[in-house]
Amino acid sequence: MLTLDLAINGLIIGVFYALMAIGLSLIFGILKVVNFAHGEFYMLGAYAYTLAGLLLGISPWISLPFAFLVGMIVGLIVERLLMRPLYSGYTSWAVMRDEYAVIVTFGLSLLLINLVDKIVGPYAYKGPALVDVTRIALGPVLISGHRLIAALAGIGVIIATGLIVRYSYWGRQIQAVAQNRLGASLAGIDTAKASAIVFALAGGLAAVSGALLANIFNPTPDVGVFPAIKSYVIVVLGGMGSVPGSIVASLILGVLESFGGVYISYQYRDTFGLVILILVLMFRPQGLFGERARDV
């Protein structure tokens, strides 16, 4: 049952990708910038989860919300210190906002990676498993217990996020700001607060993704680089700023890599997504769902 096996594993990876990509997509929606330090939130989450278990000996089920909290707090700090100039009062920055956003988030990524490298060291730690069951039979497919439980937890978080963004008071304000920042501010919405919430949420989600995968991809300072690149591919494929698009694109990429790794080339499985990203931007810049990448 290789096909089913690959499909299920692909979908599971897709769930973790989605946790990453949703946050990136929300940030793009509200600030129209790509956060090049997004992978480092994943990395911080992975470390928070692993080290909380290792040093404090607490249950992984408590470490998980702890990782989310760490991601949120760092997200809030980053938003407050570095993202404010993108939208508040600095009119002369308008022309340079893309330049600033790319450089400052790229610099932040470099900073966080090397800071963690200095503090924690370059060696990998193994994150604790959420459950002790090594193998669970899912129909004819055998899956590691941690992988399955982590994926289910991830699905839960994604559904909760979707509900919050879609129906909650703040979620609706976020949607309003994403559609039209000026209009939303005229309607009395605190756009700075909306941006802060989005950054906190995005940081938390990426951190949870890192935490859930810490048992499989053990945290090192640069562990976030690849998940970040995957999430760039996903937000481009799903359409920048579209949350449902990101979720669908995550699952597609997960399955595609899973099959491609077996049927096309295992060595080059990490390049599939990158090629997709370039092709999508060349030929269908609005992605599968979202807004157009080219603007006149």
Partner: protein
């Protein structure tokens, strides 16, 4: 009177920038007289490699506004072109280096065409993906490139000092070339595209032509830098194309001053030499640079060169106002 008016402003500023650049390079030329240590001379040579990459990225990002995240990849491509030619065909550096320039330039041209209509974050994402694809291809094509083991490249000179002055001559040529390019109308077109592409088109600037030119030229210079580095280090590996290498190049340009001539090369020396010092004190160099990049892009957008220029102007304005007050 009027002719003098026109001479001021941008042109006078560019002349000052050229003079300061030449001053920096003159200081570098004199360095071996003071520093006899072979290790430190090697550090200076690598600084010159980074200075070329920084100057090339500055042309693209600082003057043309195209924030490519692939500068390190082009350095790596240049190194591998000459490396592979000599490994497989015994081609001498006299063939390998020009080939590196041409191949990198061509790849830069193609990348420039691909990202022609993309702005800001989309361009950054596409160039980042391109850089990663190239690096993954080189590190996985083990039969051709020996993969992550890297490739031995023959040297050119017997003495380190010969490499030193060869690199310096090339860096000088690059810097002079950029100056003479930027003071022609081409410089106006590139900066116009950076500031507002739509307005530039409405004024008649050939957007496609100048954007692709900037990509091609920047890539060709990076390729040249990579090829020279490969021959000096006698070794190239996929690590030359890592994102962190791009991070170092961006740090240099942002700290020195985006869109200025002396900033990036001056900062390339400062940053690389400082990193060698800091390495001795527990390896905090990358943390310091990353912090500097964030602080400079947040608070001092014109970089070190902008700060220096302003301090200088203020110093010159003070006696003038004092005189006026009398």
């Amino acid at each position: 009177m009027k002719a003098e008016d026109v001479q001021g402003g941008t042109r006078a500023r560019m002349r000052t920038e050229l003079l300061v650049s030449l001053g920096i390079l003159a200081a570098v030329a004199l360095l071996p007289a003071i520093v006899a240590n072979e290790y430190w001379r090697g550090v200076f040579i690598v600084s010159m490699y980074f200075a070329m990459l920084a100057a090339a990225w500055n042309l693209l990002a600082g003057y043309t506004g195209q924030l490519s995240l692939a500068p390190a990849a082009f350095g790596m491509i240049g190194g591998y072109v000459t490396g592979l030619l000599s490994y497989h065909y015994n081609a001498p550096p006299m063939v390998g280096i020009p080939a590196a320039i041409v191949v990198s330039g061509l790849i830069g041209f193609v990348l420039g065409r691909i990202v022609l209509r993309l702005r800001g974050p989309y361009l950054a994402l596409t160039t980042l993906s391109f850089a990663e694809i190239v690096r993954l291809i080189i590190s996985n094509s083990i039969e051709i490139t020996r993969g992550d083991l890297g490739l031995n490249v023959p040297g050119i000179f017997d003495h380190r000092l010969a490499y030193y002055y060869a690199m310096l001559a090339v860096l000088l040529a690059v810097q002079l070339g950029l100056y003479f390019l930027l003071r022609t109308p081409a410089g106006l077109y590139l900066r116009a595209i950076r500031d507002d592409e739509i307005a530039a088109a409405s004024r008649g600037v050939k957007i496609v032509l100048w954007k692709t030119n900037a990509f091609t030229l920047s890539a060709a210079i990076s390729g040249l830098a990579g090829a020279l580095y490969g021959h000096f280090a006698q070794f190239v590996s996929p690590e030359l194309g890592l994102i962190s290498q791009t991070g170092i190049i961006i740090s240099m340009v942002v700290i020195g001053g985006l869109g200025t001539l002396p900033g990036p090369i001056g900062a390339a020396f400062l940053v690389y030499i400082a990193s060698e010092f800091l390495r001795g004190f527990g390896g905090y160099q990358l943390i310091v640079f990353a912090l500097l990049v964030i602080i400079f892009s947040r608070f001092f957008r014109e970089g070190l060169w902008g700060l220096l220029r302003r301090a200088f102007e203020r110093a010159r304005a003070r006696p003038a106002t004092a005189q006026a007050a009398e």
